[in-house]
């Protein structure tokens, strides 16, 4: 048993960094790494001796240790991935504002060192510039993208060093776990979480405290906690960013959950496609174990807890609560019917709490600051904040955390900066591939766990894809259907066969091969898949189709009845025609048409044989007089 003195570690860390005058934070979230953040980091390290305040650096397993008053740190995701690689110069002694640089390349590094570290100037071209107003922002705090957010789970993401437990402890880490374990009973902890109203961030929104309580009520000797980090939605990266950017926060939440539920062992089920998250969680666990935050008799109590990382098996369905357990047990990742709930019979037949990574990442704040503080954000039935991955046709895409109950308008226009390139807002797909679509009429609706299902959508994993009017809604529905159909495990008939047939119908619609009655059959099938499927994947798979059918029925009808795609996206439905008033009979198009579908003598008006035309669009691109257009 190790009794950890957190205050001592924090104090030592504080002393160690007392002489530090500034930090260079280089975002090494996955988005920034893809943009070249590692080369930027290497450039800073390479120039170490030439950086004022840094005499030399040594690269250790814990990161970069420098001699002098400056520190170079790699951090997790800052959220504004679209503008990455991000570099922040953070002065610690003067109290002056940080400098937030976007799209930094290694070539920019000498200039940054020269101006921002040496003389306190800024490199203006690298600052964030608002596209519309042209205003330039020095600090991230003022940027509209950040200004409207409220960060509870992500509060330290991008600031704390993910691989340094000392840094985490210095920022108050593990004090909540110690408080829970040494000063609260498991019942108290459950009660506090229930009072906070925290609901599962994985999508279904089940009250977290109730789940823990249910597991606690089971008197089994062996119980488990499973952190669900199998974030499979295309375009979603909330859990990933949290695990990569602040792994100890997730781990601390897990320790508290285990204590509250009476569990002695835990598993982090992390997507194998997230190598960095796997690595950082593994390191965090190792260091926490070394520091006495995991193991026997935590904080001098009689509570034992340890955990490990299990890499996901590569299937979307493995994010489903019962499938995840099957996968950890080494079985095929297939859901089983519930009840019994996992809190009664879960992993290896034992009571198990399965919580999403973000849910666990929120726990520390609640224990630290109290349920009342948490309830200051969000709505009555959906308190707190929620992270979303904002993507699609929006000016600023990235990772955001906002109070629940925020309107779609605020997210799309204030945080996201609106639709780029003069596009018009058409819809958002919210909650991942099995979420639903919201249209312009929902822009001012508050987003929370209860309001979304009422309009056929869900919070789901928290992906928000903004769609502008250049997109075909049927094609969007088809795309999501293709995903869920591909990821269906194949166990129950409605999901396996139903999604396949729904996809086939949608495919035919966008290819102009639909038959009368197809839309009715689509709805009929969707209803059965929704009500009769075994697990949540099938139960929600028809959402995109059903919600778009409701909002954009006319667009579907145009495809089916008139063989016409209003957005002009569906190639098979295009009809190319030549405007006789513009055609000069130059022969250019007819000479290049690969199927000789264009007829007409020289200097005569040409015409396209619709039967022959393969709708490749070459002619429209060639015409110098804009006489050819697709309708």
């Amino acid at each position: 048993m190790t009794v950890v003195n957190l205050a001592e570690i924090a104090e030592k860390t504080r002393q160690r960094i007392a002489g530090i005058s500034y930090r260079v934070l280089i975002c090494t979230g996955t988005g920034c790494i893809a943009g070249g953040a590692e080369t930027v980091y290497d450039k800073f390290i390479g120039m170490a001796g030439a950086i004022p305040g840094i005499d030399s650096v040594e690269i250790t397993a814990d990161g970069c240790k420098s001699a002098g008053t400056g520190v170079i740190s790699r951090t997790g995701c800052h959220g504004l991935c679209q503008k990455g690689p991000l570099v922040i110069i953070q002065p610690l002694d003067t109290g002056s504002e940080e400098i937030f640089y976007c799209r930094v390349t290694p070539e920019d590094v000498p200039e940054i060192i020269d101006k921002s570290i040496g003389s306190g100037d800024v490199v203006e071209r690298l600052l964030y510039r608002d596209a519309e107003s042209g205003r330039v922002y020095r600090s991230s705090r003022e940027i509209p993208f950040y200004a409207r957010q409220k960060r509870l789970a992500l509060v330290d993401c991008g600031h704390v060093e993910p691989d340094s437990i000392d840094d985490y402890i210095m920022r108050g880490g593990y004090a909540a776990a110690r408080r829970a374990i040494t000063q609260m009973t498991p019942e108290n902890v459950c009660d506090e979480i229930i009072a906070s109203g925290l609901r599962g961030r994985g999508g279904a929104g089940y009250p977290t405290g109730r789940k823990w309580q249910a597991a606690l009520a089971n008197s089994d000797d062996i119980k488990y906690v499973v952190a669900n980090g199998d974030e499979g939605d295309p375009g979603a990266f909330m859990d990933r960013s949290l695990m990569e950017g602040d792994p100890h926060r997730v781990l601390e939440g897990t320790v508290i959950a285990a204590y509250a539920a009476g569990a002695g062992y835990g598993y982090f089920y992390v997507r194998a496609e997230y190598p960095l998250a796997v690595q950082r969680m593994r390191r965090a666990i190792k260091k926490a174990r070394q520091a006495g935050m995991l193991g026997k008799g935590l904080f001098g109590s009689r509570f034992d807890f340890d955990c490990e990382v299990v890499e996901g098996a590569g299937a979307f369905v493995c994010g489903e609560t019962t499938a995840i357990l099957a996968s950890i047990e080494g079985k095929r990742g297939m859901p089983r019917p519930r009840p019994p709930r996992t809190t009664k019979r879960g992993l290896f037949g034992k009571p198990t709490v399965v919580n999403n990574v973000e849910t666990l990442g929120t726990v520390r704040t609640i224990i630290e600051k109290g349920a009342a503080e948490f309830r200051k954000y969000g709505t009555r039935s959906s308190p707190g904040t929620k992270t979303f991955a904002l993507t699609g046709h929006v000016l600023h895409s990235g990772l955001i955390e906002v109070p629940l109950g925020i309107t779609l308008r605020e997210i799309v226009y204030d945080i996201g900066g609106g639709i780029p390139d003069g596009g018009k807002f058409k819809a958002v797909q919210i909650g991942g591939p099995s979420g639903g679509c919201l249209g312009p009429e929902h822009l001012d609706m508050p987003l929370d766990f209860d309001s979304l299902p009422r309009v056929g959508a869900m919070v789901g994993s928290g992906g928000i894809v903004v769609i502008d009017d250049s997109a075909c809604i049927v094609e969007i529905a088809r795309f999501f259907m293709e995903f869920t159909q591909h990821e269906s495990c194949g166990k129950c008939i409605p999901c396996r066969e139903g999604t396949k047939q729904m996809l086939a119908i949608l495919q035919d619609i966008v290819e102009g091969k639909s038959e009368p009655g197809d839309l009715e059959l689509l709805v009929e099938t969707a209803d059965v898949v929704k009500t009769a499927s075994l697990c949540g994947l099938g139960g929600s798979a028809p959402n995109p189709v059903l919600s778009t059918l409701k909002l954009f029925q006319s667009e579907y009808l145009a495809h089916v009845d008139r063989r016409y795609c209003p957005a002009g996206v569906c190639v098979a439905l295009r009809t190319y025609t030549i405007d006789p008033s513009l055609c000069k009979g130059c022969h250019r198009c007819s000479m290049k048409c690969p199927v000789s579908a264009i007829e007409g003598d020289k200097r005569e008006i040409h015409r396209i044989d619709v039967a022959k035309c393969t709708k490749c669009g070459i002619c429209a691109g060639l015409c110098k007089f804009q006489a050819i257009a697709a309708v």
Binding site: C492, I493, K500
Partner: protein
Amino acid sequence: MGETTSRPAVTENNTIVIDGRAATIGQQRNLLEVIRSVGINMPTFCYHSDLSVYGACRLCVVEIQGIGIVTSCTTVPDPGMVVYTNTAKLRKIRQITAELLLASHDVSCPTCPKTASCKLLELTTRLGVGTVRYRSKVQKLPIDTSSPAVVRNPNKCVFCGDCIRICEEVQGIGALDFAYRGSSIQVLPAFGQGLGEVECVNCGQCANVCPTGALTVKNDVERVWQALHDPSKIVAVQVAPAVRIGIGEAFGLAAGEAYMGQISAALRHMGASYVYDTAFAADLTVLEEGTEFLNRVRAGERLPQFTSCCPAWVKLVEQRYPDMLENLSSCKSPQQMLGSVVKHELVKELDKMPGDIFVLSVMPCTAKKFEATRPEFLTGGNPDVDAVITTLELAQMVREAGLDFASLEPDRLDMPFGFKSGAGVLFGATGGVAEAILRFAGESLTKRRMNINQLEFHQVRGLKDTKEASIDFGDVKLSVAVVSGLAAAQRLVDDVRAGRRQYDIVEVMACPGGCICGAGQPPLKDSSARVARQQGIYRIDTMLQMHKSQENPYLQQLYTNVLHEPGSAVAHDLLHTHYRPRRRTGAYGADLPAEEDYSEGDIIRVEVCVGTNCHIRGGHDLLHKLIDHIDSTNAGHLVDVSPTFCHELCDKGPTVCLNGEILERCTFEEVAGKIDRELKQRANRSSDATGAVQDER
């Protein structure tokens, strides 16, 4: 109160309301069973009362007031529940489900072997699915005919998983599992091999539970007709005890009635020259196996003695318990004994070549098809049994011949091999072999004639999967175990190996309930049919004049004229065999590196077998200890320790291949010692070499 709930007042404790009628929950395990208990035939694909609840077909959906739509198979009935089984929504779900299944099904009902009992066909008819509106893009997958017992047609699979669960849960084999996902899902043997190439024991229970034509019993009827119509062939038929009890059900007759006379008449009508009874060979087995057992007891040899009548069980032992093969009786199964004796005798009597005699077996069993093809049972290149058909295949032939089975005038059997004692017939039910042997061993041990009241051993009867009895025969106390179902058998064997249980003799039958419930029999309508079949077997024993194998006069005659005495050299030649360890899978064998790969000074290669058999014996542990050992001696660059699969010495595991030499029954100390010595030798050699170089300088 009355305002807030709309529950009818009739609900009492332990009662629910189904479609407005009260129903007692009773001892039913789930809501589906309760619904069926009140006479509502809820359709299902994946629900099977003997297997775990799977909840995948979604056909048994019901609407529960206050809860909504759920599957009844996964719902625990709570007193007071108000359940509806046939609402508009539920009808829609079932209809769409059937329509969806049909869209991706290879619909070829007239030629499908399962047409008579296909659940998909029944469901479609019941639900009145008029048209299939969906796109039907059936991509044909190849049909797996590699197994001599079971044909797998993936194009007809509905993925209910019944086959997977019966193979895993009831038989403990796990030869099938799901592969791929979504609409690409398939039910496949390991690595996509054929069923005939994997550890499938050919019990056929998967084909028995399969609701469609995806898994069916291999049909050999055509070969049999060819033989019957070939004037140069003399067809001698043997009929197993369970067949006479099961065949009636195939013609809609009551379960449990015996129809041996009708079978004989039908076979003769179709052109069989001789009709014999496998029960005669069962009597023969009793004497041979009983004598072998008594010899083991007297000589203090390995016990328990396991029966070897069931070919599925024999294959399991070959695959999983190669070191227990010595415990298996060396007797051939009754089918093979009779085949061997019939050919031996008819060739002499009719002055024919063995190839002219065609021995046909009618069996309740699919594994017998596999057994007949085993190389052990070829005599001079000629199989002892030429073809095996199941009870259902015989019924098919009867229909094809246009015979009205029920009204056939019963015919006699041919002598001498048509005569049997009641003991021989008992072989058809679980516990029967043990009981027949007890009737023989009892008399041998006590040297006293057992009277009619001492013959029934009720401790070994019944349908429980494992039965135990301890029986006193004078000074000797025999401990007997009877097990049916291979999962139960493996639990028992594991206990025996671990020393937790001790027996003298163990009877194993692969199919739960024994041969009467074999996969070649008509599908069981309900559990009462199983009881009726068992009672039918015991009734035959009661009705026959003789109850002990040793009293069969034709058998005594056979010993006098041919075999001399049980266990004689001739008997061994004709009636006994020997089994060898068998690999569980055909593919993915370990290529053993050739010895010349290891020139001096090369890395020392240590390959530890982690195949299942070696794993059970500590292969994994050994591997890890060796890796740790090499790490701790800092010899990682000189020694390469790696896991490998099967060296095909499963009974001598764990095995290790050390630089090409295979070491058997390895312990860590032994292997580590050898590696250390090898390292030392090399170190000495290299220091000698350096020394020599220095000397030269």
